[in-house]
Symmetry: D4
């Protein structure tokens, strides 16, 4: 294990301790497929360098080991995130809206929300407002417009981002989820729906990628602060 | 060419002159891939048996030959239909609504409308009311609810049927169109979207199949009359 | 948890208690991915508002908890439905036919049948009459024609709806199932087969979506009553 | 251009003049993508060696050049075959049945029929008897059963082979066609349908491959003769 | 449970006891997804009617129950078949060859072999002779040519049927298997390879469908006997 | 043709003259599939309401008719855009970067650039800097970082957005193009590559959708102005 | 147009004149989608820097313009290559074998052959030796083994590389072609077949990418020289 | 079990003891789907013939049985390889580089590394240097160029091979991995990305096929030795 040019080499991973400098946010740990020990080791390296750690797609076992050594760690079980905030990132003024279509999409929405909050954003949640009950969406129009940027999570046919983009003027980042069965093909239907959205200016991330949408939203929200 | 059991055999096609009896509507000519001469020959056979002819996916050349011999034939060029009504089918009381999301979907919507009218249905058109401007749809809610059954045509992400099904209580037959580009994959995105609709009770036909949706709608509307 | 405009907000879900008014049927609980506790909580809300509860894709554990608190609940284990009928929905005169091609498709056919009965429809079952033994189908032609609308369930190549639509004059709603292996690709073969049906007027729902087909059929059957 | 071990090397192609010996039928020319001159040159080589030439997927221009030099050549324009029979192959006693579902499938059915006849088989044609009018198929049951082997051609959902296999005891070779639109995906729907046939013992060839099905059927029919 | 026109209705299945008469072979039980009790009940019905039972895709538990009541039942564990032969089907003179490319394809090859033997065919096995060691295939050329019909089983790229069809003159029925990983996509690569075979006259069945290939081969081999 | 609630109904299209108010930008004309006359009519309506018109996917013939009546119209032939700026939109201070990987991607990059400029953004172009010559990208790092938001256009494997996102801290909107052949499957390879980008925070639009990416970028750049 | 760090910027393209130094071969012009004038301009720049130009996927019109100004240019019309060799690249000792399965694959094989020769390799051609006539391949075994590296081109099921890799010990680079129809899906079948090859050590390039395979083979053949 | 022409027939497998002679490397055991006993039996046969055994995709249970009888066997648990080196293969002078993009790709990279070492190659590892941190790759440029051939392993969007091929002049063999989720579709995104690489001369193997890439690399590296 050595340290040169902002890279700490663990053998199984090279931790990029220069990333906060270069990209504005510290490296985030994608926990899936790592042992609890590996997650712990990487967490310590990032914590030492940046004072804040976010681990996504983390399971209970990984959290248990981490929290034994780092008691301030906390776990968002629905969003499957490990969060350690010794030196929290500075708060940003603007609000990011997180909308989701159905109860089953909450897992992905929570990953987005947790990521946004760790990155210093204030989040307003609009959960379970899919297009099958469009009056609920229209009733919230003004609060949604008041956000700087919107993360819109939906499975099945993924129609919510189109409806939102038609109502408000803010950037819409769409997250298809794997919720559905049969011809949803693991989220493909929602993904294609969002890519073909008739609502201008909708951009899309990978299926179930609540983290990626939040990262993009945070990058945008941070810009407003700098404006 | 012979005639037995309600089948007239042209060699290149066996015309089912018993279909009107058996299924309630006469056989319809799918003109794509047939010569103008073949369309004419089949038209005459059906006209003689049933008094009314509908040819779908017909081109101008096919119509020109047919109309030379059968002057009462008319052509819906947008919907690509040849219609010959010597003995029009009886009119049905109820109304069928035809909705479409965008201007580009008109070709398919017109095929549905023409088919419905030839089959004796009154049609109310709601064109260009896609979800990107959801207020237009909501403004028409009562007129849509007043229809017996709804044919909803949309390309791109195909979100309109979900929104309609959430607003009204009538059967919704969704028609995906091939309108779009890139990841629309020739209408696949709209098709998958409609199959995964979060609006309960939406049923779907093949991409660009305005005729099939109209046929199903006519079958339903006719039921109401018999009720 | 609050109540405004016919929405009861449980946090994890907003129950649409205005749906029975708006759409004619109460909200149905899609149980997959919900905890038994969540299913129970939503069941109570709907039961209080509408007097009748249908939960689809429910497992034994969910039913056990629900039935402990609500003893009149019953469980259709093949169709995986929880049913609670305190104030059953009014019965409709017409009959809906449910056909299925093979024994393996029964799970989906039973979901359709249970949904139809809860929604007040009388159901006639035609099980295990696939096209490999076409004489069985032809023998039932008259009883099938006597139904108002038909739900036709089939896996593998999904040919049954085409054959049915060629024999009778009633609306056919086709349900592809995921029964098969290899090039059935989880029901894709049956789905594509039904979408390309040469039988005019066949409409299609998502793979294994017995509930959706039943919902559409109930909407149609109800129309006849109103005719 | 040389000749060794039954191979005549034209540079652009090595003609396998030993194939009739080895496989029982002479080499067949797949004309698509070849110039008229290349088709002519290969035709002469095969004609000299085997006395009979079959060219599939041939266009009018290729035929015109060939027939100028070889006047006994004839052209099946629907089946797109060039046939030259100087020394016709010996006739086989048994009959091969060629069935097709719709008029649009005739192109492929004719390729199969022409191939079968050149290879010495007697063919019985059952055209335009798709499952949407199942009574037509059932009426022909005995004549179909009387054939040794059946080539069954169908596009759209490709359901005909399943129905045929359920009725008779003879080998069924299914040919999906590219007839259809939208979710037929160029014949994929029919191909998948046939591969998943619930009718035991159906075997399948490539989309639009009338020649391949005929070749297989001829190989089987020849066996019976040898029995 | 009743009995009319050769159908015994078990409720969960209608057993087609007329099939042996109509199609030449008794109905075969597809055991996957059935309970052991259901397999037993159907077995008894078929045994009583036809004297011979074949159950495919059967597991050990199903066999254990069946063999407790029907002691002459035996189990081919690699091919996953239950066989009960009280009155074995008459033996046919000709030989069917079963070839397979690799050890992993044996499961499917054994299903084919067992089916063929139960249906009265003599089988010659050529296992583990894939194209990566083409000399092994060429060494067996004469014994392969001596068979009446060939079932050729291969996974991965599925090249064996092409090579076999190029060497011999007998009908080749290709069975793609799901053996492979990554871009084999569950057998899709082998399936497409076989459908596009450059070896004329290869016909194809569904992925892993050893039974179907054997059924088709038996139908062909029986023809030779009748010749 | 009427005018109510900001909708001008042309029959073939309802022009949303309220969109500039609601969404911040006027409605844009998607010219593909419209006649030159329709493009002209819609252009006049938007010009009268908003003073600025952008038509995308426009061909020369459409432009010729428009420019005959509206002489200030100009045509970006590579980007296929018609632009009419009577009352140009106000200029925004920040800069949007448009990067593209290869020469063949210029068509899409130009659509993005033109859209951005019409919407009041200053654009810096970084053309032909794909990852096969990564030193070119690294040399431009500082100028790229100086932009507020980046539109990154790439075909083939679509790797450029990942590399850019790894180098700078600004939002990256990726546009896959249909440039490529064979396994690019019309841009699918690039689309999937971008959706799976290892560079955090990359969001994606439809294949060849330069307009959509520009629209999203403009929405973001406008936010900074408001900050 | 400027020149810095080995990049000549034409506006529409940045020509990488440093590539010969860095990668060993000069930049190659992919002509598809470029105007004849652009091809000429880039040709001149590369010719001035490197003395040798290769343009792939070039059409006759592009060649005509180039050859008017650069008379030593020559055109391989089957392989669609423009070649200008003022200072030919040095010749390499080893031989590269180019094999192709059928006549229709020659277009791709010729692109490979031309590329190899321009890059200084001696090529031995083995055309039209597909697996349907495996004896032709086995007869050439020794001459194939004598090559340093093999480019193996095949369409349809793409089985040739597996057979070759089983016979010899040299690196095999497989090129799937788009030759075929129906379930070849534009070369997908051949591509998947090659990726799943049971012949160890086969590597694969994109469909129809004769150039890429040749480039890789040249890189390997050059290594041997350096050994 | 017999032995003729270099084939030892175990019934369940024919071990090719002539392969080392014919192809230069002994047969390798693909352990997936084999019992521990089968792996042991084949291991003994190969060990006796060649003195060195490599088993890929081996699990712990298979290794435990093998090592009980053959104590010198060792197990690479990350790469899932069993290695027995009684008479190690001769060492080759040149170096093969193994690069991988992320920690999750190590499993595949280790399979490649182990295979290369057993086959006598010296390996230099460059792990965790994906394009999201492109400076790490550029810093290693000279050490990478010093290798004879490169195996480049990457999941997600699979962009690393393109970047590597742009930097160095050596053959690049790309291995897509199944690492990713959602629209990675089990490695399809990485596979398509690599096949469409803009870096000339990249060749590709199947998803997760570290062994195949190593085999090809060893074949190339061996050539250099012979040069």
């Amino acid at each position: 294990m050595g340290d040169h040019s902002g890279i700490v080499n663990h053998g199984f991973a090279r931790v990029d301790t220069g990333r906060k400098e270069r990209r504005g946010f510290p490296e985030v740990i994608y926990c899936e497929g790592k042992t609890a020990g590996e997650v712990l080791a990487i967490s310590k390296t990032i914590l030492a360098a940046d004072g804040v750690v976010l681990g996504t797609r983390a399971d209970q076992e990984q959290f248990d080991l981490v929290s034994k050594e780092i008691p301030i760690a906390r776990y968002n079980s629905r969003g499957r995130c490990i969060v350690i905030e010794e030196t929290p990132l500075p708060k940003i003024d603007g609000v990011v809206g997180v909308l989701c279509a159905g109860t089953s999409d909450l897992k992905v929405a929570e990953e987005a929300t947790e990521t946004l909050e760790v990155f210093g954003n204030r989040v307003e949640k609009f959960y379970d407002i899919g297009v099958a009950g469009i009056h609920r969406l229209m009733a919230e129009r003004d609060r949604i417009e008041a956000c700087n940027v919107l993360v819109v999570v939906a499975g099945m046919e993924g129609a919510l981002p189109s409806a939102v983009a038609g109502l408000v003027s803010k950037p819409v980042i769409a997250v298809p989820t794997s919720i559905g069965y049969g011809a949803s093909f693991g989220g493909l239907a929602a993904l294609l729906g969002m890519l073909n959205s008739c609502g201008s200016g909708v951009t899309v991330v990978n299926i179930d990628n609540g983290f990626g949408a939040a990262y993009a939203a945070a990058t945008i929200n941070r810009l407003v602060r700098q404006g």
